[in-house]
Amino acid sequence: MTDFAVGIAGVETIDHDVAHVHVHEHEHEHEHDEPAGIYKWLTSTDHKVIGLSYTITSLVMFVIGGFLAELIRIQLTSPNATFVSFAEYNQLFTMHGSLMIYLFVGPFAFGGLANIIVPLQIGAPDMAFPRLNALSYWLYLSGSITMLLGFVVAGGAADFGWVGYAPLSNAIYSPGAGADLWIAALLLTGFSAIFTGVNLCATIFYLRAPGMTMFRMPIFTWNMLATGILILLAFPVLTAGLIMLYCDRHFGTHIFTVQGGGVPVLWQHIFWFWGHPEVYILALPFFGVVTEVIAAFSKKPVFGYKGMVFATITIAALSLGVWAHHMFTTGVVLLPFFSIMSLLIAVPTGIKFFNWIGTMWGGHVRFTAAMLFAIGFLVTFLIGGLTGIYLASPPLDFFTHDTYFVVAHFHSVVLALVMGGMAGLYYWGPKITGYLLDERLGKIQFWLFFIGANVMVMPQYELGLLGMPRRVASYIHDPEWATLNQWATVGAVMMGVSTIFFLVNIVYSWKRYPAGDNPWDAQTLEWFTTSPPPHHNYYALPPIRSERPTWDYHHPDARSLVHGTSHDAAHPEAAT
């Protein structure tokens, strides 16, 4: 046992990059000269502090965005409600979608969870560029405030949908300041995302601890590498498009307007060239989260680890070539190419499902709140994934495009992602704060959310087939749709109540249940350090000889992995 823990000094002699960083750590080891309190928070470049700020801010955006969604759902409970006006309704769904996509899921995933967990998982003392990391956060916060300011300016917030299609988003059809704030917000948060992408890639490529080879990285880190690369490829395109849109609005260019010789569809190409990879920028992190959670709570290694890594890379690569499946009904894109590319994404996604099932198979599955959320993710994402296959088929997309079928499809997906996020919080929260969240409240939260999510989307699929278009404030022509819409609202309210349970849980569990270093008997490196980790993350590292060094350390007898049917006799149910 004694040779398992290798001191930092030993580490230094092995690897130049890491050695450099660790020397740095020694210089700063005395934390008493660090600023404290609010000043510490304002000036911190510690990835854990920044990551926590990101997590909290993005959860605030989730709560606000969810509140807007409840208002939308109230309006839709009757065919011709006057709860909000048409104009207000357009602002509501635009800001709901924008908050959720731009300010919640992405920043929560790569600014929050990944920022905190990736350096810990690979044994790095911090992100590669800590100051850039801080800049990311402050850009994100200012962008978020900028977007919300739309509600207080004359004319109200942006109201052209979260996709801002030209020419509706130009100065003639959307003259208000809300639209400009929306663009400015996306520029700010866009740069924030790009910087985080740079940081993730650099950290993962250059700051891995000795022994942490690429194929020993946990799946979450792999997925964040793929996410980081996608961010770098996709976000600059959106940023460029937004600048063009701004020029059209204020500097007299005609890039997206027919009158001056421009091409409105170009906006859609630019937007979705970012927008589809964005779907995977949002999804891949949570694929990673549930992979880790399922492995930990099944007490098993990730099944088909290498296949899963290749599946992730394949998804990332394919996702760059499918953007026009959002434009099938424009009539100006090559249908078969984008159709087959989109269908093919189902293959690596399917592989992941079998990896997850295979990980549980033969394990000891523990139904903690985190694990319940992970299973809720699997079920809900399965529904969203299957309905996504329809949309990859152009004739079926012609049939369902811009109806509630699509709203239901992507809410199956994004609500699954929210469950993945919650799984991550229940799982890693103790590592970040040092305290566990209450499991009973967590389970209530889970069941309310899981049932609520599906009670909301199922009627919406049906409404879509009946022909209800998305983004409508009234359906006066079809009053018989009211019942289905009311069911959807019931689901939305359940999710709202679930979120209240979550907030209550945070308050209730505050400093209540000390976690210890590894409360779940989890396997990856981050569970080796203290909870919360010290300033530069590790006092000592275990030897890293597989992708689960903490497990190897705690279960020396059950270390080796079974490859297929070989080795079998050597590994009966091993007991520690």
Partner: protein, 309 residues
Amino acid sequence: MLVAAGGLKFGPLHAVGYSRRVPQPTRRTGDAGGVTRSARRWGVGLLVLAPLVLSGCSLSTFGADPSPTTTGRETFHLWQGFTIGAIVVGAITLSLIIYAAIHFRAKRQHEDSVPRQTQYHLPMEITYTVIPIIIVFVLFAFTIVVENAVTALPSVSKDNTIGVQAFQWGWRFTYPGFTIVGETTQDPILEMPEDENVRIVLTSLDVVHGFYIRQFNFSRYALPGVINPFTFNAQRTGTFFGQCTQLCGLYHSLMWFRVKVVTPADYTAWLSMQQARAATLSASAAGQAVQEQTSAGVPIRPDYGGGTN
């Protein structure tokens, strides 16, 4: 699924999964043969029966409309096929998820032990990679066939070529010699003959709109600066509801129209009547304005939804 499997044990899946040729210390080896046989029966039964049972209600629409148009009908059948596939794949995957989670839940006697640390199983991994690829190419093949039918542009007579221009917030239907215009809830009527190819030539006069006819199972964007042609062939007469599906500003929710399919004889009669009327009207100065009122006289932009803010 769990219930539907009836008397068949779930043990077989475990066998297929990992232990087909692996004697497991914790299991009676005698099980292996029977288990594998019932696994096959279970699997084959499911694969063969599910589509049959499901399409046994081969009239089941799975929520979609069988559509009056030829192409809408093909889309509808594609929908049915995709749905059968989705139900089979979804049911299998869902049962595996639920089965794995529940069957392998940790029990008290597991507290201080660890399960077998299985990580790779190449034959399984190849299987679950190859099968989805095959499914995808089958789906793609069907997609291509239907897509070619839906986007085909057979030649049509001049009388059957109708221009459609979307604008904030209404529709303008241009026939040879006259135009029909209506805003929001006025529901302008797009008249077309039954059992003949009709060409719609779609464009927008301002922002992007969506031209969508529910029961035709079809929509297409109306894009400014782009002319989008497509074809319908309706197999029965009737009136069908159409609506803008792409957000186009304030009155997007009310941007309605109707499609009226009539017999070819009625269509020809209607055309010449409208043409004659248009000719007389354009003789008078006020004609142009009146012509725009050919639809029912519902007031434009009524006070729906709490007004305009």
